[in-house]
């Protein structure tokens, strides 16, 4: 397994199970996220990506298994300033300006006020810094939300579909930012249901129906499935899984 830096993995999950309304949302998931890279979490809508991310940041009631983050049980107090989390729907105060929002989050994290300007620049919102968040477009609000997670010195960033609905140029810029952060040693776990974003990740976790289909590098995945893009690889894996499960069922 790739592990660029010493110490425990950024995320280590073992037989993770989450049930909601009698249904298994995560059905015995085991995987590791090595430190200092961009890990893509891919799968169709409803496959459990958000639930998995919530379990990693420690806000999800878990019914079985274990998740460790940076060597500590997920959600434990020392992790709260070391892990940044961005929800799918932007979680910012619509009645505050961009700067006011970020100043508040910076104060909670104990980050310097100057840090606010850095993250505003990083997400490309310098010209809207004094606009009220509620008056911004959905994509801009999402970037305010993302900026909040970049404050301070997070070691792990858990980003739930951070680039959905963004202009392609912005999307490219953000992926470049993610790559830069990873090269500085930050680990990023980024979910997406757009398979073409997979090529920008160093490692992929493909999910379907609360289970892991694959946990590999994009190249290895394509080689193993003998396909040329991640979407086809995904389909190949689903077919393969379907074949093995029907063979298992005694007729």
């Amino acid at each position: 397994m790739v592990n660029n830096s010493p110490g425990p993995a950024a995320v280590a999950a073992q037989d993770l199970r989450v049930h909601r309304g009698g249904r298994a949302v995560l059905d015995g998931l085991s995987f590791e996220v090595p430190r200092g890279l961009v890990m893509g979490l891919l799968g169709p809508s409803g496959c459990g990506k958000t639930t998995l991310m919530r379990a990693i940041v420690g806000v999800q009631v878990v019914s079985g298994g274990r998740v460790e983050v940076l060597g500590l049980p997920a959600g434990s107090a020392p992790l709260r300033s070391r892990v940044g989390y961005v929800t799918q729907a932007p979680s910012v105060y619509g009645d505050l300006t961009v700067t006011e929002n970020l100043r508040y989050f910076a104060a909670i994290l104990g980050a310097a006020d100057a840090d606010v300007r850095r993250v505003v620049d990083q997400v490309g919102l310098s010209s809207q810094a004094d606009s009220v968040a509620g008056a911004l477009s959905g994509g801009e609000r999402a970037r305010v939300s993302l900026a909040g997670a970049l404050l301070g010195t997070p070691e792990l960033l858990v980003l739930d579909e951070p680039t959905v609905g963004l202009d392609p140029v912005l999307r490219r810029d953000l992926w470049q930012l993610f790559g830069r952060l990873a090269s500085q040693g930050v680990t990023l776990l980024i979910s997406s249901h757009v398979m073409d974003e997979a090529e920008r990740c160093q490692r992929l976790l493909l999910m379907r129906d609360g289970r892991a289909l694959a946990d590999d590098t994009p190249q290895a995945l394509l080689e193993r499935t003998q396909t040329h893009d991640v979407e086809s690889a995904f389909l190949a894996l689903v077919d393969e899984r379907a074949r093995t499960t029907t063979e298992e069922v005694p007729s």
């Binding site: 420690g58 999800q60 009631v61 878990v62 009645d95 505050l96």
Partner: protein, 244 residues
């Protein structure tokens, strides 16, 4: 507990109010209009002197209940609460931040409404005026703590608003303002005895009718204070870091 997080939260809540001019105006103007209306209705009778002071305590209670239940519900539904709970902020820091911001607002509201009543509308208060503001502040914090607690049981703003008649009106009917508590039948009196607003109104009544501060006022205020702590503790228990 972290003072930094508490102060940051209070500052943030006040900043939100500052952006919302209409809410701010409503918070300060509506009690003044209502109390003026009341003085006018009872013009020439002695009734305004009897119920004016208790009402100065009830307005902040009702207003803060409403404002807090909606504000906390918005934190829950907008995802900002979940975000905060993944960050290094304690639940108490969060609650105290709200208490500080709304408490400050309640003081301003109480000072404005009391000044209008005492100086312009001629409300006759025998006790010290500063104590009126203290009681009004505690009433506001009581409303805030209860609003916070019930917001956990509402999943939409429609529901949150419905809790106002459900939680506030019974207390208003039984607090001794409409019918003195000692003239109620035993059952109603027993219910009135366990509702915190009864003590808040009782304290206002004593302050307005007696020249010296009596032990009874402090007892009433201690009970209201206890109810605030209890409601805040229950409210804190409803703020869960982990949700299904």
């Amino acid at each position: 507990m972290s003072l930094r997080c508490t102060l940051a939260t209070a500052r943030r809540v006040l900043a939100q109010l500052r952006h919302d001019h209409r809410t701010l105006a409503l918070l300060l103007v509506v009690p003044c209009v209502l109390i003026s209306l009341l003085a006018w209705i009872y013009d020439g009778t002695g009734t305004f002197d009897q119920i004016g002071a208790p009402l100065l305590g009830i307005f902040p209670f009702v207003v803060m209940f409403l404002v807090t239940s909606v504000a906390t519900l918005r934190e829950r539904t907008s995802g900002t609460l979940e975000r905060l709970l993944t960050m290094p902020i304690g639940k108490l820091d969060f609650l105290m931040g709200y208490a500080l911001a709304f408490g400050l607002l309640a003081v301003v509201q109480a000072v404005v409404a009391s000044a209008l009543s005492l100086l312009v509308l001629g409300l006759d208060v025998v006790g010290p005026a500063w104590l009126i503001v203290v009681v009004a502040l505690l009433d506001a914090l009581l409303g805030m703590a209860l609003g916070l607690l019930v917001s956990a049981f509402a999943s939409t703003e429609f529901q949150a608003v419905q809790f106002l008649p459900a939680v506030v009106l019974p207390q208003f009917l039984l607090c001794g303002l409409l019918v003195p508590r000692d003239r109620m039948n035993d059952v109603l009196q027993a219910v009135s005895d366990v509702l915190p607003l009864s003590y808040a109104v009782d304290a206002m009544r004593i302050v307005s009718s007696s020249p010296t501060v009596q032990g009874e006022v402090w007892r009433d205020l201690a009970i209201v204070g206890g109810a605030i702590v209890l409601a805040l503790a229950l409210g804190a228990a409803t703020l869960r870091r982990r949700t299904p």
